[in-house]
């Protein structure tokens, strides 16, 4: 195939083929770009899908590319090992390799599931330590923000709330650390489960191995989540985070700017809702009364209409 007829994806496949052939034969491997780079250079474009679906596809392809590269890098590492020394590779090193490979990715997902990502956005593919640092920085910033407020714009009620601020911050941080420890144990248990499973069911392929790892992770994760301790830490983290957001909202109330306060806004929404409910109830009552009226009218018409039966039978009815 001539190069100018090739699509970017054909070229990428060709590069990959060359890379893997070199790897397989123990030759120096040529440079090769990963799938994430390819997707960045050739982003999804479609004239047929609407903006929302196009964005969804781009997001999906980005996520799929992250996992695809993880998979291919692991395969390359395994191929290197297999080629270098056939006798050294065993199930245990494979399990350790997987543990290392998936640690960061799993941690990133673990943190996302605590709704942290709505508040914090550490750069790149953050590990748990980076999440912790981002959380610390966020709490520090809020404390500084609270401390810097001039007394004139902070109501006495809010001053009292600010006292609890540090307490919630500490609770949040403590719960996060405890959840980190949970996560470590889930990962350890995953490796233990996998080792046990592989002894009985050696993987048929690398993809099969990743599926086995997934099963073991879910099992370990589920066991941990069903413990009362985990549920308490999970709740403590989320509740303290909510307390902080609530305090942050109260600190940033636009008192001084003359805009309507959050409290007044909520009050008007509540009032509007109350009226909406009243209107609905009244409409339903009117509909019921109308129905009843129609029924009564029908009955009345039946009572006043002259009997259509032949004369002589009327009096017997």
């Amino acid at each position: 195939m001539s190069q100018h007829n090739q699509t970017p994806s054909d070229l990428w496949l060709e590069q990959q083929q060359a890379f893997w052939q070199a790897l397989q034969s123990g030759q120096p491997t040529p440079p090769v770009s990963d799938w994430q780079t390819f997707i960045q250079q050739n982003p999804y474009r479609s004239a047929t899908q609407n903006d929302e679906l196009s964005q969804l596809l781009r997001d999906n392809q980005q996520l799929a590319a992250e996992f695809a590269d993880l998979y291919r890098h692991f395969a390359a590492a395994q191929a290197n090992t297999a080629h270098a020394n056939n006798d050294s590779e065993n199930l245990q090193t494979l399990v350790s390799g997987l543990h290392t490979l998936l640690d960061e990715k799993a941690a990133s997902l673990f943190a996302r599931n605590w709704q942290l990502s709505s508040l914090l956005n550490p750069k790149g593919q953050p590990n748990l330590q980076q999440w912790q640092q981002a959380l610390d920085a966020f709490l520090q910033q809020l404390i500084r923000q609270a401390d810097s407020l001039p007394d004139s714009i902070v109501s006495p009620g809010h001053k009292e709330q600010l006292h609890t601020f540090r307490e919630h911050g500490q609770n949040c941080r403590d719960a996060f650390s405890a959840l980190n420890e949970d996560y470590r144990q889930i990962l350890e248990q995953t490796s233990a489960n996998l080792t046990q499973q592989l002894e009985q069911h050696p993987p048929e392929s690398l993809k099969h191995l990743l599926d086995q790892w997934t099963d073991c992770y879910e099992k370990a994760y589920s066991q941990r989540v069903f413990t009362p301790e985990y549920q308490s830490r999970h709740a403590a983290f989320n509740n303290s985070l909510l307390e902080i957001i609530k305090l942050q909202q109260s600190i940033s109330q636009p008192f001084a700017t003359g805009l309507v306060s959050q409290q007044a806004y909520q009050q008007s929404l509540k009032q509007q809702h109350k009226l909406r409910k009243q209107v609905r109830t009244q409409q339903q009552t009117i509909a019921r009364l109308e129905q009843r009226l129609t029924q009564l009218e029908t009955q009345l018409t039946g009572m006043t209409e002259p009997d259509k039966h032949p004369s002589g039978t009327e009096s017997r009815s």
Partner: protein, 355 residues
């Protein structure tokens, strides 16, 4: 001596195949025609605030005179029942002669922050039932509730039993405290008052994150590694994209309704403890004497089978039937196998009780 788990040749073959699937799926998705959902023709017969009530058109002779109203959950969107023509749960029902109506709750926004259970049950749902009765000219309707919509439907039927002829619950949680209900375990100690007071409406994305947290690796690592193989043909890619659109289309939840639902059902297990109330009206499932069909998925991780099965014996119905489907929460509606079982079973069940 240990032996290598994989040979370089094995890995080469596997990765070459994966790379090929990766580029094939990339090309397929790039060239995919416009992906639409909800193909079954329908007419909007009633609107109220953001709610729309639809009647599906059908050219098939009615096998059942009593209309069927579908009450979907407030989370996610009801077009999951009609993703594409081939696999449409709705089409299967209308093709078998069932007159189908569906409530689309819409997308609550800040103005809906204070909508509560009373508004949803005594307001929206009741008004929809009256509209369906009026539109169909029938004195009663059949009501089908899905997931949370099943809880709303049970509550409604116990409050307005005269309006309902037959009741169908699908993947509906009844006992929220079964030991295998992970979502319920995770939410037990969450301060829902604080959550609603702080966030107002509950963001749909937060709910999506909560669902993803139930099987984090299966719904990320495994899903995305399977994606290239699942998108190799145009048909497969379109199905994948439609499902992704649905998964990510998650409306925010009206704050007060969320507070009430979590408190009454997740926290207080209202159906089991007979403690559900709607605007101070007590709700007793013993008011329900209608025939009930309870459909649930054997592998449902969101609403475990035990949570649904608990309905048996809680009502006063002497015609209760359970139907277990070998699939997960969504698979009950969209898996190829279920499609051949579920809608025909519902249709038969309704027709047999249409006297």
């Amino acid at each position: 001596m240990t032996r290598p788990v994989f040979t370089a040749q094995q890995l080469f073959t596997e990765i070459s195949q994966f790379n090929q699937q990766l580029t094939d799926s990339y090309r397929t998705l790039q060239s995919l025609p416009e992906c639409t959902v909800g193909p079954s023709p329908k007419d909007c017969i009633h609107t109220e605030d953001k709610l729309q009530l639809y009647k599906y058109r059908s050219e098939v002779k009615q096998s059942c005179q009593t209309p069927l109203l579908i009450c979907y959950a407030l989370v996610n969107r009801p077009y999951m029942l009609d993703l594409d023509k081939q696999g449409s749960f709705i089409t299967r029902l209308t093709d078998s002669g069932i007159p189908v109506y569906l409530i689309d709750w819409g997308y609550p926004d800040a103005a809906d922050r204070y909508l509560d259970m009373d508004d949803y049950i005594n307001g929206y749902l009741h008004n929809c039932v009256e509209q369906v009765k009026h539109h169909s000219g029938q004195p009663k309707i059949n009501l089908l509730g899905i997931c949370q919509g099943g809880c709303l439907s049970l509550t409604y039927t116990s409050l307005f039993p005269d309006n309902i002829k037959n009741l169908i619950t699908m993947v509906t949680p009844i006992d929220f405290h079964t030991p295998d209900n992970m979502l319920s375990h995770l939410i037990q100690q969450i301060n829902v008052d604080l959550m609603v007071d702080t966030l107002g409406n509950i963001p749909g994305q937060m709910l999506n994150d909560a669902y993803a947290a139930l099987m984090p690796m299966r719904l990320s690592l495994q899903k995305y590694l399977n994606m290239p193989a699942q998108c190799s043909t145009e048909q497969q890619a379109a199905n994948f994209l439609r499902m992704e659109k649905w998964i990510n289309d998650s409306p925010d939840q009206a704050g007060e309704m969320f507070r009430e639902f979590v408190t009454q059902f997740f926290h207080n297990n209202g159906f089991i403890n007979n403690s559900v109330q709607v605007s101070n009206q007590p709700v007793s499932l013993k008011q329900i004497r209608q025939p009930i069909l309870n459909v649930f998925g054997r592998y449902d991780h969101l609403v475990p089978p035990a949570a649904s099965k608990a309905l048996n014996g809680l009502t006063a119905s002497d015609d209760y039937q359970a139907l277990e489907i070998k699939s997960g929460h969504i698979g009950v509606f969209v898996s190829q196998k279920s499609q051949q079982t579920v809608a025909p079973a519902i249709s038969q069940w309704l027709t047999a009780r249409d006297q």
